[in-house]
């Protein structure tokens, strides 16, 4: 008997033993839980617009009105102070030790969201979005109205969906949440500051976006608090630090003709990202390696050998790549992205001041390839 059949039989036997619920029981439970979910909750949620300034920036007022229609009931408006620029950069610098983001705020690269949602013992203010177009960062203040929590917990963790409206409303189950972590305020123990990296594909390009906080956790509390606190807004693209993107369309940056080709170099505020492609002659390599897994291993090795010896040179100064181990090869065997048998790899370098740099190049061994 093959291992596959044995495995299936053992899994089924295990599941049948442990998993004794009938379909009818499951249906009853599901119906109860769904009908319970639709009941008006005692834990009212309210959405509060904290600034007049935000209303003027775009058509968000219409979105907020729509959001207000669907909330269960409205409580008194909380009176959080508007996040002043000084406070925001201070939080990023002192609490998160994030000098880059603090400087971006000081340079005006942030968008004030300033929406507040209250649920149970929590009030979460989504203060602002800052960062650059490839790494947008969401900055929250979380107010906890429970002294027992505040007394024993200096760390907090949030999980939230950060999606486009279409994805949020129709395809939510297909996406995982983003995580953010934060620290208790030094003076006000009921207040926690949280920063979360959002999904750039929706946040950074001026599209309507939904941020929905679903879980709140604390370091020393076993349970997690499930909430549904929703924020809808659009970030004007100019409010985030731009990422200069140079498209090379496949310039050979390797001494070998069957080597790596550069497609993009993206110069951001947090890192410089190079995206390479490599087209394999699948026939010859698959002839040498009997399995696809063997082929993949070869790709990985070839990439690491190449990347180990690759430097970015900016006006004579050489920079090594940042931890390219993390950039695994994506092999498009079926041509889903347009090119069959093409593999894509990314490599991060330190931040480059693209505007002031006179010459930027990639150096591989003795060969140098000019990018600017």
């Amino acid at each position: 008997m093959s291992v596959k059949i044995t495995y299936k039989q053992q899994v089924d036997a295990f599941c049948n033993e442990k998993n004794t619920m009938t379909a009818e029981e499951m249906l009853r439970i599901a119906k109860e839980r769904i009908s319970g979910r639709e009941q008006p909750s005692e834990n009212a949620t309210n959405v509060i617009d904290l600034t007049e300034q935000r209303k003027k920036r775009n058509a968000f007022g219409k979105v907020l009105s729509a959001a207000c229609v669907i909330i269960v009931c409205t409580l008194a408006v909380a009176t959080t102070a508007l996040a002043a620029t000084g406070k925001l950069d201070e939080v990023l610098r002192k609490i998160f030790k994030d000098e880059t983001s603090a400087e971006l705020v000081e340079q005006g690269y942030y968008y004030e969201v300033n929406q507040s949602v209250t649920e149970d013992i929590f009030r979460i203010d989504l203060l602002a979005v800052t960062g650059d177009a490839q790494t947008p960062k969401l900055v929250f203040d979380v107010w906890v109205n429970d002294p027992n929590i505040s007394l024993n917990n200096d760390r907090i963790y949030l999980s939230a969906y950060t999606l486009g409206v279409e994805q949020y409303e129709n395809e939510l189950d297909q996406y995982a949440m983003c995580d953010g972590s934060g620290y208790q305020d030094a003076e006000n123990k009921n207040l926690y500051h949280v920063v979360m990296d959002g999904a750039p594909v929706w946040i950074s390009y001026g599209e309507p976006v939904v941020v929905s906080v679903r879980e709140i956790r604390f370091k020393h509390i076993a349970r997690s608090y499930e909430v549904n606190m929703e924020y809808r807004f659009e970030v004007p693209p100019m409010d985030l630090h731009p990422v200069v993107s140079d498209y090379f369309g496949g310039v050979l940056v390797s001494p070998e003709e069957d080597g790596f080709y550069l497609n993009y170099a993206n110069y951001g505020a947090y890192y410089t990202e190079c995206i390479f492609v490599f087209d394999y002659d699948g026939q010859s390599l698959e002839g040498q390696y009997a399995t696809e897994s063997g082929l993949e291993s070869l790709l990985q090795m070839k990439w690491r050998d190449y990347a180990d010896d690759l430097h970015m040179v900016v006006d004579g100064a050489e920079y090594e790549a940042i931890a390219h181990e993390g950039g695994e090869v994506w092999y498009d065997k079926y041509g889903e992205a347009g090119h069959k048998n093409r593999c894509y790899v990314t490599l991060h370098f330190p931040v480059i001041d693209y505007r002031s740099a006179k010459k930027i190049s990639l150096k591989q061994g003795t060969a140098e390839y000019r990018l600017k």
Partner: protein, 159 residues
């Protein structure tokens, strides 16, 4: 195909082991697995998706199971700064002669692709879609997962 009550009953019978085995593979304890399985089927009944076929429903269930498990494990991980333990739970040790138990001893990143490959007979592409991973990563994990099992099994038995 909409999820009516009769469709739900039929789907539960057909795919309850699919869902349970995936969530158990992630959490490796019966109590959490039962809760997560319930969550998955509650989402199914509450979903407003127009499914094309039973295979579509199955793919949806697996995708949702994986996402719920990831969220569940993330909510557990905040309790300690240490990484989640890969120690084998007692109920898995009980089945120590079992091939399934052997797979459960592997790190998560290997056991989930292996499970989908051998139990669901999913292709690398389907696993990559379900787990939101590049196909290359799935292939490498399948290969390394098999290698880790290799000490216990004859390699040719896996194909």
């Amino acid at each position: 195909m909409k999820i009516t009550e009769s469709v739900f009953l039929d789907v539960f019978e057909k795919f309850k082991n699919t869902v349970y085995s995936v969530v158990f593979n992630y959490v490796r304890n019966a109590e959490d697995a039962a809760d997560l399985q319930q969550d998955v089927f509650v989402k199914l009944l509450g979903s407003d998706v127009e499914y094309e076929s039973e295979e579509h429903i199955k793919a949806w269930l697996i995708r949702v199971s994986i996402n719920l498990c990831k969220n569940h494990l993330r909510s557990q991980s905040h309790l300690s700064d240490a990484p989640l333990s890969e120690e084998i739970p007692a109920e898995v040790k009980e089945e120590s002669n079992d091939l399934f138990a052997l797979v459960l001893t592997l790190p998560e990143k290997y056991r989930i692709p292996l499970h989908l490959f051998y139990y669901e007979e999913y292709s690398v592409r389907q696993i990559a879609t379900a787990m939101e991973l590049p196909e290359a990563t799935v292939k490498i994990r399948l290969k390394r997962g098999r290698e880790k099992l290799g000490k216990s099994l004859r390699k040719e038995d896996w194909f």
